[in-house]
Amino acid sequence: MTPHAWLLLGLYLFILLALVKPLGIYIANVMEGRSWALRVGGPIEAIIYRLGGVRKERTMGWLQYALALLLFNTLGVFAVYALQRLQLWLPLNPQQMANVGPDSAFNTAVSFVTNTNWQGYAGETTMGYLTQMLALTVQNFLSAATGIVVVIALIRGFARHTAQDIGNAWVDLTRVTLYVLLPLALIFAVFLVSQGAIQNFAPYQDVATLENATQTLAMGPVASQEAIKMIGTNGGGFFNANSAHPYENPTPLTNFFQMLSIFLIPGALCYTLGRMVGDTRQGWAVLAAMAIIFVVAAVAAIAFEQQGNPLFAAADVDQTASATQAGGNMEGKETRFGIADSGLFATLTTAASCGAVIAMHDSFTPLGGMVPLVMMQLGEVVFGGVGSGLYGMLVFAIMAVFIAGLMIGRTPEYLGKKIEAYEMKMTAIAILVTPLLVLGGTAIAVMTAAGQAGIFNPGPHGFSEVLYALTSAGNNNGSAFAGLSANTPFYNVMLAIAMWFGRLAVIMPVLAMAGSLAAKKRLVATAGTLPTHGPLFVTLLIGTVLLVGLLNYVPALALGPMVEHFMLWAGR
C-alpha cells in the first residue's frame, strides 16, 4: 500500500459516504410516493401506466409481485435475444454486424436481464448500435430497476405492520427507472462526454498510426451505455476492453467517478432501508459491515499487487514503487491507472456485482486475484448489485439475528419482525442456491471435455479460471477472469443457467419473505431485544457473512489460488 493508494481509498470512502444520505432519502421518498420528483414526472408516469394498462393504486401480494417480475424478465430475455438474432436486417448497424449465433445470443440475453452482464462476445465486433442501445442498454436500466424494487419490497416487509401487500411491481419499476436511474445516468453520461467519451452513430474510423499502419477505431453511442453500466452495477462494456478502453473511460477523473458510481446506489439503499424502517442507525450498521469487509479486501488486493512477483525478484527486476515506476505486478494493467486504481477497481467491481474491469484479473497475483473471487463468493453482499446487494445482505442479517437471538434466549427478531420457520426456510433457499450452482457448475465443467476445452492455462490456474467464470455467473457479477474461452455452446448454456437461477432463485424466496414479514406485527424494541445497530451486531454480521459465505468455498479456493500462491512463492 503506497501513500497514493491510501489517499485514493480515503478520498473514495469520504465522498461515497457523503453522497449516501441525500440519495438514500431521495430513493426512500420516491418509493414511498412522496417525493417532489413525482409531481414533476407525474404526467409521464400517467402516460406509461395508460399505455401499459396499469392501475397504480392496485397493490400486490408477494406472489403476484414475484410473478410480475418473472414475466417482465422473461419478456426481457426474448426481446434481447430477438434483437441480436435479427440485427443484420435492422437499422443502425453501419458495420453490418452479422446476426449473433443462438447460444451466444441466449447467453447474452440472460446475462443482461439478470444484471450479470457476463460477456462471452466482444462488443465492437459483434453488436450493432441498435442492439447495444435497445437490447443491452435498456436491460441495463431494467435489470437494475428489478434489483432495486425487490429490495424495496423486502424493506416494506419489515416496515409494514400486518399488511397484505408489498407494493405494485409495475409502479415500482416505473418509478425507479424514471426518477432514480434515468436522471443519474443522464448526468453521468453528459459528464463522460465532457471528459472525452464518445457518443455517435458513425461507422468505424480507419486512421493512420505513427508507424504508418492503419488502425480501425470502433465508434458508437458509448457514453449513454457507459453511464448506466456503472450506476446500475451492470458492467457490460460497449467494447471488449470494457472500462480499460479510453472511449469508455477516458481520464483518471472519469475513472474515479466510475468507481464512485458503482457503490453509489448500493450504498444509498442502506440509508433508504434505515429511513423506511424508521431507524437510520439500522441502515448505517448494514453499511458499516459492508464498508469494513470492502476496505479490508481492497487493501489486500492492492497490497498483493504492489508486492509483485517473487520470480521477478529472483531475476533482479526492481518492483518497488518510485516516482518513475509503479512497481509491483503491472502485468495486465492499464498504465493510465496503475496498481492502486486497478486493485481498488477490481475489488469494487466484484464487491458490487458490477463486473466492469480496468485490468485483467487473470494476470493478478494468485492472492490478488483471489480477492475478487472471494468478494463474489460472499454472495455479492458487500455493497453488491443495486438492490441485490442489500437484499442479499439482509438475508445474512436475518441469519445472524436468528443465531444471535437464540443465543440470548429470545425468538429472533430483526427490525421489529419475528424471524420464524418460514423466514428460515426462505433464507435457507436463498443462501443455498448460489454455492450449489457455482460448485456444481465448476464440477461439471472440469469433468467434461467441452468444459476442459475452454481452459487456457495449466495447473491450478486453469481451475481458478473455471471457478471464477461460474462464480461470476452464479453471483450475477459478470466480470471475467479471462483465460477461459467461454463463447462456446457449452459455456454459453451453462453460464446462462447459472445466471438465471442465481438471480431468480434468490429473488423468489426474498419476495416470499417480504410477503410473510409484511403480514407480521411490528414488535417494539425493549431492553430484551437484541440491538441491531451497534458495533456488536456489525461484528456479528461480518462474522456470519464470512463464515457462512466463505466456508463453502474453502476447499475450492485451496485447490485454485491458494495452491498457486504456495507454488509461486516456492519458486515453481
Binding site: M399, F402, A404, G405, L406, M407, I408, G409, R410, T411, G416, I419, E420, A421, M424, K425, T427, A428, I431, L432, P435, L439, G440, T442, A443, I444, V446, M447, Q452, G459, P460, G462, F463, K521, R522, L523, V524, T526, A527, G528, T529, L530, P531, G534, L536, L540, G543, L547, L551, N552, V554, P555, A556, A558, L559, M562, V563, F566, M567, A570
Partner: protein, 688 residues
Amino acid sequence: MSRKTLALFDPTLVKPAIVDSFKKLDPRLQWRNPVMFVVYVGSILTTVLWAQALGGQGEAPASFILAVALWLWFTVLFANFAEALAEGRSKAQAAFLRGAKKTVVAKRLREPRYGTPVDLMSGTDLRRGDVVLVETGDMIPADGEVIEGVASVNESAITGESAPVIRESGGDFSAVTGGTTVLSDWIVVRVSVNPGEAFLDRMIAMVEGAKRQKTPNEIALTILLVALTIIFLGVTVTLLPYSIFGVAVAKAGSPVSITVLVALLVCLIPTTIAGLLSAIGVAGMSRMMQANVIATSGRAVEAAGDVDVLLLDKTGTITLGNRQAAAFLPAPGLTEHALADAAQLASLADETPEGRSIVVLAKQRFNLRERDIHALGATFIHFSAQTRMSGVNLDGRQIRKGSADAIRQYVEALEGGFPSPVTQTVNEVAGRGSTPLVVADGAKVLGVIELKDIVKGGIKERFTELRRMGIKTVMITGDNRLTAAAIAAEAGVDDFLAEATPEAKLALIRQHQAEGRLVAMTGDGTNDAPALAQADVAVAMNSGTQAAKEAGNMVDLDSNPTKLIEIVETGKQMLMTRGSLTTFSVANDIAKYFAIVPAAFVTTYPQLAALNVMGLASPASAILSAVIFNALIIIFLIPLALKGVKYRPLGAAVLLRRNLLIYGLGGVIVPFVGIKLIDMLISLAGWA
C-alpha cells in the same frame, strides 16, 4: 414435589441409555434427524468401503477406513446416547408420578346432591359428569369441581405443600385434583375428566415425551441445519471432480478417496448441535417439571422466553398473601389497649400469619406479653369454613374476631348491635386498601384491627432482575389508585393497574399485544380466565378453578405466582443452549478445514502442507483426529445440553457478547487444541 434428583450420569440412567443408543440405530428413527441421518448413511458407506478394502480392492488401507467407519458409528451412537439419557431422566420422573396414581374406591352418588344413596366403584371407571361424595379421610378419585360442601384438602401429593387448603362449591376454590385427600368435612364433586385425561395422566404423558412435538424455534433451527448440511454435501461431492481434475493437470498424486470425503462431510455438517438438539428439548421440559410446572406444550415454554410484559396479581405475588396487623381501631368508648388485649387473647391459638401478627403488634404497642394459654383454662375456637371466625372462650367471655360480615351475623344472633362508627371505620380501612378485622366480646363489638399488605421480601430485587432481562412488570390489583400506587412504589414494579376488573385486565393485555409486546400473566380465578386465554403465556395456579386451568397454557403445581420468573428463565435457557451450540458447531469448521483439506490433497499438491498449521503428524492421523474430535465433542457437551447454558439477567447486548466470546471464539479455538491433542495421542500410540 420432593423428588429424588438424579446425578447427571447416574448409573441407573446410563445403562438403559447405552442400550437405547443401539436401539435407536433403526433407520426409521434416524430419519427424523436429517443431519444425523447423513452421518448414519456415511457410516454405512464407509463400512461397505472397508469390506471392499478387505477384499483387496480398497481405495485406502483397510485399517484407516475401519478407523473412520468406527468413529462415524460412534458419532451416531453418541448422539443417540445424548437423546436416550435425556429421555431416561424424563421417564424416571414419569415413574415417580405414576406412583402417585393409586386405585381409589369412589362413592358415586345416584343423584347429584348430598345424602342420596352411593354406589361403590373403582375411581378409574368414573366418567366425565359423574358425581361423587368424598368424606373425611377419602382420596379424591378424579379431577373435578366441588358442587356442594366445604372441606379442607391435603394436596401435597401434587404440590408438595403440606398445609391443607379449603375447597368449596362456587367461587374460585372449587377445583379439586384426583389423588389429593380430604382432611375434614365432606364435599360433593362433579368429575370433569374421562379416564386417561386427568391431570396426572397429562403430566406423565408430557414427561414421557409421548406428545413431544418440535417447538417453532426448533423447527426453524432444523431448517437452518439442514440447509448447511445440503451446502456442505455440495461442497464435498464436488471436491471429487476437482481432485480428479487436479490430479490430471498436476500429473501427481491420486484423487481424494470417498472415505476422506465422507469424513470431511461429517466434520463440516453441524453434527454437534444436531446430535444434541432433541436432548436439549427433552431436558428443557424436564427442568420445567422439576420446577413443578406443567406446560401444555413445548411451544408455551419457548414463548415464555420471549415475554416482554409480566402481569402479576398483587395479592400473593407482590405482597404476602396474608396481611399483617398494623393498627387497633377501637369502637367508641373503648381504649386501644382494651381492644389490643381482647385481640391478643383471641389470636393466641391462631397460628395463621395474620393471627401471629396481631399478637406481635399487641406486644409492640402495649407490651402485652403472650399469656400461657393452658394456664388460662381457655377454650379456643378455631377458624372454620362455615363460621369464618376464630376466637376464645375464657371466664365466660366469648371473644371472636372475623370479617365484618361474620361478626355482624354473630352479634346480631346474640341480639347485639353493630355500632355505626365501627361500620364507618371498617369502610375507611377498606378504602385504604387494607383489610378490616372486627373483634367482638359476646354481643359487644370492641373495634377493628387493620391488616395491611406487606410487600414480600426480595421481590424488589426480582423485579430489578426482570428489568435487566428487558421485562416490564405490571401489578394488577383491585385496590384503589392511591393504595396501588403506594404498594407499586414500594415493590418497585414498573406500572400498575388499579381497580382492575376482568374487562380492564383483558383490555390491558390487548393493548400491550397491539403494541407488539408478548404478555405473560398468572391467574387463578374464573374471572381471570378470559385474560389468561388472551395472554401469550398464561400460568394458572393449581389451586385455581378449572376454568382458569383450561384457559392457561401452563399450570403451576405450587401455586406460586413468582414462578413465572423461573419459567421465563427456563424458556430462555432452552433457546440459548441451542443457539450457543449451533454457533460452536459452525465455528468448529474452521479448524476442521485446516486439518482435513491439506491432508486430503497433499499428494497432488505438496505445497498445501503449508495449510497444516497444527502440524498434524500424517494425513491419515489428521483426518482421523478431526473425526474423533467431532464424535467426542458430543459426549463432552451432553452435560451442557442437559443442564442448559446458564442464564444471567443481563441486557441482550451484554449477553450476546458473552456467549459469542465463549461459544463463537471458543468454538474456533477449542477444536484446534482438541484435534492437535488427539493427533499427538494417535501418533504416540502409532495407530496411524
